[in-house]
């Protein structure tokens, strides 16, 4: 009966379960974007020349710059988790802020990119776009939907990281309890991986 005398209130935690949950969500996201990548492949297979022409209208340098931005943001994200694991709380927070800044920079670039396209009259269902070849219409349709959905994921990621920052500041996420931050990291790396595939398929087929 000694057990009854000693109450140790430990938080009920299942770190492996938490991570598994995030991985399952990631797999569902792979299905979401995977379906669209397959659609892209099918249309590209049918309209290789039109896709080539469409890709020429996108600015490779901007796309490359955005790729580097996201890769660097993944670095700062991963490093922020390591920092927290070592008890370097301030460094962890600085790295998270850097990740957020890079994510926002990516979105700003995307905004400029879309802006120039729209100025040239190229947007879903625009009169100017509809006069073009069928394959080009498909290319830009896919471009807007896939980069748009991806951009939405980036925005959500930035918000999640902001939430993590607040929790670290309050001490709810700390050296002894960092799986929520790891999960945020997993989500962010997923967003990076999706872009790793979007980049060559839209910008580099010219």
């Amino acid at each position: 009966m000694d057990e009854a005398k000693a109450f140790v209130f430990e938080e009920a935690r299942d770190d492996t379960g938490a991570k598994l949950g995030m991985w399952l969500f990631i797999l569902s996201e792979l299905l979401l974007f995977g379906g669209m990548f397959i659609l892209y492949s099918a249309y590209r297979y049918k309209n290789p020349v039109d896709f080539h022409h469409g890709s020429r209208e996108l600015e490779v340098l901007l796309g490359t710059f955005n790729t580097i931005i996201l890769l660097t943001s993944s670095l700062s994200m991963a490093a922020s988790i390591s920092a927290l694991q070592r008890g370097q709380r301030k460094l962890s927070m600085v790295l998270l802020m850097a990740t957020m800044a890079l994510g926002l920079l990516f979105l700003v670039n995307k905004g400029f990119e879309w802006g120039t396209r729209i100025e040239h009259g190229i947007y879903p269902n625009s009169p100017s776009l509809l006069t073009r070849a069928k394959g080009e219409i498909l290319f830009f349709g896919l471009y807007y939907v896939m980069t748009g959905l991806h951009g939405l994921h980036v925005l959500v990621g930035v918000c999640i990281i902001f939430g993590m920052l607040k929790l670290i500041a309050k001490g709810k996420i700390n050296q002894m309890r960092f799986v929520p931050l790891e999960n945020a990291g997993l989500y962010w790396h997923l967003v990076d991986i999706i872009w790793i595939f979007l980049y060559p398929l839209f910008y580099l087929i010219a």
Binding site: L27, A42, T72, G185, P200
Partner: protein
């Protein structure tokens, strides 16, 4: 934390090296795109993209250092299944007789 759940703390150096690799691979993708390789270009570009994803998955997402079986085997296995879906779809497309 229970001993068997001790986290594997990755060194900063590892992360930076992976990042350098990713940037180099991006550069390689860019230069391959500029070459006249016909149908091979996209295959090489996708291969490089796959390698980059592998780096992100294994090092940034810690798949390489995860102990539980579920992470080290099951998830890569499921991803391989997705890959098969994509390959099968493409094989179907490739061998159609051109009827729209």
């Amino acid at each position: 934390m229970r001993p068997e759940e001790e986290p594997h703390v990755t060194k900063y150096r590892t992360y930076v090296l992976v990042w350098v690799g990713l940037v180099i691979l991006t550069g390689m993708t860019l230069s391959v795109a500029g070459m006249e390789l016909g149908g091979w270009t996209i295959l090489i570009a996708l291969g490089i993209a796959g390698t980059k994803s592998g780096l992100v998955l294994n090092y940034f997402m810690h798949l390489r250092s995860e102990r539980p079986f579920i992470f080290s085997v099951i998830i890569p296995l499921v991803m391989a299944v997705f890959l098969v879906f994509i390959l099968l779809t493409f094989s179907d497309l490739a061998f159609r007789s051109g009827v729209k």
